[in-house]
C-alpha cells in the first residue's frame, strides 16, 4: 500500500509536470504559432504608450526572451523553491508553491486562488452531497423497481437532466423562484458561510440545485445500470437463496458492490468541480476558481490562468490517487 502510494505520488508529480508543460505551450507557444511575436504578446501588458524599453521589460519579465525549455524549467523551479519578482520598485517574495505573479492585477497567483477557493468549495460540497444522494437514491429505486412508473419517471427526469445545460436551467429556476416570487435570493448573491450561515445557505440553494441536477441525472443512470448489473450477479442470487430479506439483499449485497465504481467516478467529478465549476460560477456570478479562470482568460492574465489550470489538475490527479486507495479499501480483491 505504502509503496503504491509513493509510486503513485511520483506519477502525480509527473502528470502535473505534463499539465504544466501543456499549459505553457498553450499560453506561450500557441500564440506564436498563430502568428504573434513576443513583442505583440508583451505589448498587451504595458501601459498605454509602450516604450520599446517597457516592452522589452515585459518580454523579460514573462521570459519570452528565453528558450521554451528554459522558461518551462524556470516555471517548475519557481513552484518548488519560490522566487522573488520585481514589480519595478521593490522585490516581492513569492514563496513556494509559487504559481507566479499576475501583472494584470498585481496579485500573487497562489493566494488569489486560495482566496477564491471557499466559494468553489461551497458550491462543490453542497452540490456534491445533493447529486450523490439523489443520483444514487433514484438510480437505486429505479433499478429495484425496474419498469415501474417510478423507474420511468426517474429515467425521464435523468434524460432531462443530462440534456439541460446549467445556463438554461438556472434562468428557468431563477425566474419564478428568485425574481417573481422572491423565495430565494437572486443569482449573484453570495455571502461567506462564516459571516452569515443562514444567508449563505439560501444563496447557495439555486447554484447547488442547478449544478447537482445534471450530475444527479448522470448518477441516476450510472447507479441504475450498475445496480441492474449487480442484481443479476450470482452473489445476489446467493444472498437471496440464503433467505435474506430483500432490503438486506439490496443494500448490503447489491448496493455495496454497485456503489464502489460510483464512488470512484464521484471522486473524479467532485475534484473537477473543485477545480472550478465554471458554468455555474459564471451563470451565478460567483467569484470562485472557475470565475477566476474565465476573467483571467478574458484579461489575458496568463500566469493566473496557468495557475488555475495547474491547481485544477492537481485536484484531479490527487482525487485519482485517493480514489484508487479508497477502491483498494472497499474492494478486498484489489491489492496495491
Amino acid at each position: 500500500m505504502l509503496t503504491f502510494i509513493v509510486r503513485r505520488l511520483f506519477a502525480v508529480v509527473g502528470l502535473l509536470l505534463v499539465v504544466a508543460l501543456v499549459t505553457m505551450v498553450i499560453f506561450y507557444e500557441m500564440p506564436q504559432w498563430g502568428g504573434q511575436t513576443p513583442a505583440t504578446m508583451a505589448v498587451q501588458y504595458v501601459g498605454k504608450q509602450p516604450s520599446p524599453a517597457a516592452i522589452q521589460g515585459v518580454i523579460h519579465r514573462f521570459g519570452f526572451d528565453r528558450s521554451f525549455p528554459v522558461q518551462y524549467i524556470d516555471y517548475i523551479r519557481t513552484i518548488v523553491t519560490g522566487t522573488t519578482f520585481s514589480d519595478g520598485t521593490q522585490d516581492i517574495a513569492c514563496h513556494a508553491p509559487c504559481l507566479g505573479y499576475s501583472f494584470r492585477n498585481y496579485q500573487q497567483v497562489w493566494p488569489t486562488i486560495l482566496s477564491d477557493l471557499p466559494v468553489t468549495l461551497s458550491i462543490a460540497v453542497g452540490a456534491g452531497v445533493l447529486w450523490l444522494f439523489f443520483g444514487v437514491a433514484s438510480g437505486l429505486a429505479s433499478a429495484v423497481r425496474k419498469g415501474s412508473l417510478l423507474d420511468r419517471a426517474s429515467m425521464v427526469t435523468a434524460l432531462l437532466g443530462i440534456s439541460l445545460p446549467v445556463y438554461f436551467l438556472a434562468p428557468l429556476l431563477s425566474l419564478p423562484l428568485a425574481y417573481r416570487w422572491s423565495i430565494l435570493p437572486a443569482p449573484g448573491s453570495y455571502v461567506g458561510i462564516l459571516s452569515d450561515p443562514g444567508q449563505w445557505f439560501l444563496d447557495m440553494i439555486l447554484p447547488w440545485t442547478c449544478l447537482a441536477f445534471g450530475l444527479a441525472a448522470l448518477y441516476t443512470r450510472l447507479t441504475r445500470a450498475g445496480m441492474l448489473d449487480v442484481l443479476s450477479e450470482d452473489f445476489v442470487r446467493t444472498a437471496r437463496a440464503k433467505g435474506l430479506s430483500e432490503r438486506r439483499v439490496i443494500f448490503k449485497h447489491a448496493l455495496r458492490a454497485a456503489l464502489t465504481p460510483i464512488i470512484t467516478i464521484f471522486g473524479m467529478d467532485f475534484a473537477t468541480v473543485l477545480g472550478g465549476a465554471v458554468l455555474v460560477e459564471i451563470t451565478f456570478s460567483m467569484k470562485g476558481i472557475g470565475f477566476l479562470a474565465i476573467t483571467s482568460i478574458q484579461n489575458g492574465d496568463f500566469p493566473m490562468m496557468m495557475g488555475v489550470t495547474l491547481f485544477a489538475a492537481a485536484f484531479i490527479v490527487l482525487a485519482n490517487l485517493l480514489v484508487d486507495v479508497l477502491y483498494a479499501v472497499a474492494d478486498p480483491r484489489v491489492r496495491l
Binding site: 505589448v43 501601459g47 498605454k48 504608450q49 498585481y106 460567483m286
Partner: protein
C-alpha cells in the same frame, strides 16, 4: 486616455440637459430638502443634510477599482472615490449643474506668466495627512513625478504632465532614478508651500489638468510603489483604513482632518464610515439598491437593462432615479489613410449610411444608452454647439445620398467592391450590437464589413496599431471617448490632431491630419479668453465632420438610483455620476 469610462467636463451644459429628448431636470431644485423626483439629481441636491460623521455609507460595484493609488488609475469612478481620501491641487466645486473649478490644496486657480509658459501655485496653510504630518509642495511634486514618470511601476494613470512640462534632464522617474534630488525640470518647489510648473508650450487650460489625481500629494518616504494602493496615506476627510483587492475598500471619517485648511468645505465627512464592496455581481448591485441593502452603485455605470424596465415602470422607483449624460461619446472612426476611405466621398457615404436611430436602440435606447450625437463634443463639454452636418429625418440615415456618394467614390477609385473590417470592444457589451447595426447599414450601400471584436487589453495590437489596421484593412472602429480633464482641448486634441497618431497606442484612429484642424487647435491654445477659445473648439468639431473622419453616434446616458436614505445626492458632471464626497446617509 483610451479608457472609455472617464467622465467629462461641462461649462454650460444645462441647456443640453433640457434639450435632450429623455433628459430633463431643468427644474433646478436646490432647496434645503430637495424632494425626490426623476432627474432632480441632475440639477439639484436631493435630501440635503448638513449632518456629519453619521452612519455607514455603503457603496457597491460589479467591477473592482482599477487602483486605489491616485497615481495608477484611469477610471472616472475611481477618481470620484479618491476625492473621499485625497486632495488634489484643483478640484470641482461641490454643486450640481455645470462644473466649476475651485482650488483645493492650492490657494487659488494659479497664476499664469505672461508668455503662458509658467504657472505658479501656493498651498493652503495647515493641510495635513490623516497621521497629522503636514502636506508639502514637495509631496505634490512627488505625486506628479511618480504617476507620470514612473509608468514602469504605475502604468495605468494619465501622463499629461510628462507631455506638458519641460524635461531637459530626461528624468527617468523616481523608481529608476532613486536620487531624491533629481526632478524633471518642469516642476519646481522653491519652498514647501509653492509649486511652479514650466510648460513646453502655452496652455490656457492648464488648471483643468491639475484636477487629475496625479496632483494628489504622496510623501516620498511613504511610497511603496506598486503596493502603495494597499495603504494610501489619506489627505482627505476620510482615512484609508483598508483595501482588499476584489473585496472591499474601507474608509472612516478622519479625526485629524484640519477643516481650517478647507475654506470651501470641499471635504466634509458626512458619514462615519464608508464601505465600498467591489466585484459584486451586477445583478446583485441592482437587487441591493432596490432592497435598500446598499446605497450607491459606485461604478456609475447605471442599472442593468432588466432593472431599468422595472425602475421606469414604477413611479416610486423612478422618482429615486437620475439619467445623466456621462460625457462619453460613442463613435465610429473612419481611417482617412486606408483605401478607398482616403477618398472623402467614401467616408461621406458612411456618414449618410449610418442609421443612428437604430444605433441608439442597439446601444440601449434613450435612457439606458444615450442621446443621438451629431457633434464630436458632447453637450457637457465647453465648445459644444448644436449642429448636424448630415441631417436626416429621424436620424435614420439617407440611403440615396449614401449610395450616390459611394458611386462617386467607386468611379473615382476605379473599384467595384468595397470590403473592410469594423473593430469593436467585445468587453463593452453595448458595442457589439452597434457593430451589428453598422455592419448592416454598410451592407445596404454595398460595403462588406466584417466584424473584428477584440478585448480592450488588445487595443494596442489591434485598432491602436497602425500597421495592424493597414495590413488587415480595418478602416472602421467603434470606440468611445471622454475628456480626461474638463476642456475642449482635453476632448478633441487626442482624437483629431496628429498628437494622437502613433505607430502603436494611437488615439486618433481616423489618422486625421487636417491642417485646418491643426491650426485652429494651435490658435485655441494661445487664446486666453474662454469664450473665444470655446468657439474655436466648436469650429474644430465642425471641420472634423466636414472631413467625414468620424461618425458621432451616441452621447451616453446611464440610469442611476439614489435610494431615499442617501443624503446630498447630486450628479457631479465632471464624472457623470453622484458626487461621493458629498454623500451621507440618514
Amino acid at each position: 486616455m483610451h479608457k472609455p469610462r472617464i467622465a467629462a467636463y461641462a461649462a454650460a451644459a444645462a441647456l443640453a440637459l433640457g434639450a435632450a429628448a429623455c433628459g430633463g431636470g431643468s427644474s433646478g431644485n436646490t432647496g434645503a430638502h430637495g424632494s425626490a423626483a426623476y432627474n432632480v439629481g441632475l440639477s439639484g441636491i436631493v435630501n440635503k443634510s448638513p449632518a456629519t460623521g453619521h452612519g455607514t455609507l455603503r457603496l457597491e460595484q460589479s467591477s473592482d477599482l482599477q487602483s486605489t493609488d491616485p497615481g495608477n488609475s484611469y477610471f472616472g469612478a475611481d477618481w470620484d472615490v479618491m476625492r473621499l481620501y485625497t486632495r488634489s491641487l484643483v478640484t470641482f466645486a461641490e454643486s450640481p449643474g455645470p462644473v466649476k473649478l475651485v482650488p483645493d490644496l492650492a490657494t487659488d486657480l494659479g497664476t499664469m506668466s505672461a508668455d503662458g509658459l509658467t504657472w505658479t501655485f501656493h498651498l493652503v496653510k495647515g493641510a495635513t495627512y490623516t497621521d497629522g504630518s503636514p502636506i508639502t509642495a514637495q509631496d505634490v511634486a512627488y505625486g506628479i513625478e511618480r504617476s507620470n514618470w514612473g509608468q514602469e511601476v504605475l502604468p495605468n494613470g494619465p501622463t499629461y504632465f510628462k507631455q506638458l512640462l519641460t524635461d531637459t534632464t530626461n528624468y527617468q522617474g523616481p523608481y529608476t532614478d532613486k536620487n531624491p534630488a533629481d526632478h524633471p525640470s518642469g516642476i519646481e518647489t522653491p519652498d514647501s508651500d509653492t509649486i511652479v510648473f514650466h510648460l513646453v508650450k502655452p496652455f490656457a487650460d492648464f488648471d483643468d489638468v491639475l484636477t487629475l489625481p496625479s496632483t494628489v500629494p504622496v510623501p516620498r518616504a511613504k511610497d511603496t510603489g506598486a503596493t502603495y494602493y494597499e495603504h494610501v496615506l489619506s489627505s482627505g476627510a476620510y482615512t484609508f483604513d483598508s483595501y482588499a483587492v476584489g473585496k472591499e475598500l474601507d474608509l472612516s471619517a478622519s479625526p485629524n482632518f484640519n477643516a481650517a485648511s478647507d475654506p470651501l468645505r470641499l471635504h466634509v465627512a458626512h458619514a462615519a464610515r464608508i464601505v465600498d464592496k467591489v466585484d459584486v455581481s451586477a445583478q446583485t448591485v441592482d437587487q441591493d439598491l432596490l432592497h435598500g441593502t446598499t446605497d450607491v452603485d459606485q461604478s456609475g455605470a447605471g442599472v442593468q437593462t432588466a432593472t431599468q424596465s422595472q425602475v421606469l415602470g414604477n413611479p416610486r422607483l423612478k422618482a429615486e432615479a437620475d439619467d445623466p449624460i456621462t460625457g462619453l461619446l460613442t463613435y465610429l472612426t473612419i481611417n482617412t489613410t486606408i483605401k478607398p476611405f482616403d477618398n472623402i466621398d467614401c467616408r461621406k457615404a458612411v456618414e449618410w449610411a449610418i442609421d443612428k436611430s437604430a444605433v441608439q436602440t442597439a446601444f440601449g435606447g434613450g435612457i439606458g444608452g444615450g442621446d443621438i450625437a451629431t457633434t464630436v463634443l458632447p453637450p457637457t463639454v465647453p465648445g459644444y454647439v448644436q449642429q448636424d452636418l448630415y441631417q436626416t429625418p429621424g436620424h435614420t440615415g439617407d440611403l440615396a445620398k449614401a449610395k450616390a456618394e459611394i458611386a462617386t467614390c467607386k468611379a473615382a477609385e476605379h473599384i467595384t467592391d468595397i470590403t473592410t473590417q469594423v473593430g469593436y470592444y467585445i468587453d463593452q457589451p453595448k458595442d457589439k450590437p452597434v457593430a451589428d447595426v453598422v455592419q448592416q447599414n454598410l451592407a445596404a450601400i454595398g460595403i462588406t464589413a466584417t466584424e473584428d471584436g477584440f478585448k480592450y487589453s488588445q487595443l494596442s495590437i489591434k485598432a491602436g496599431s497602425q500597421s495592424y489596421v493597414k495590413q488587415n484593412n480595418e478602416a472602421l472602429f467603434i470606440t468611445a471617448w471622454a475628456a480626461d480633464f474638463p476642456s475642449g482641448y482635453g476632448f478633441l486634441d487626442q482624437i483629431l490632431t496628429p498628437d494622437g497618431i502613433k505607430p502603436t497606442g494611437e488615439s486618433n484612429y481616423s489618422e486625421l491630419d487636417d491642417p485646418a484642424v491643426d491650426s485652429l487647435m494651435a490658435t485655441a491654445l494661445k487664446t486666453t479668453d474662454p469664450d473665444a477659445r470655446n468657439a474655436l473648439y466648436a469650429q474644430i468639431d465642425q471641420q472634423a465632420l466636414k472631413d467625414a473622419a468620424l461618425v458621432p453616434m451616441i452621447d451616453s446616458r446611464a440610469l442611476m438610483l439614489r435610494p431615499s436614505n442617501v443624503t446630498n445626492a447630486y450628479i457631479e458632471q465632471a464624472y457623470g455620476m453622484y458626487d461621493y464626497q458629498a454623500l451621507g446617509v440618514q
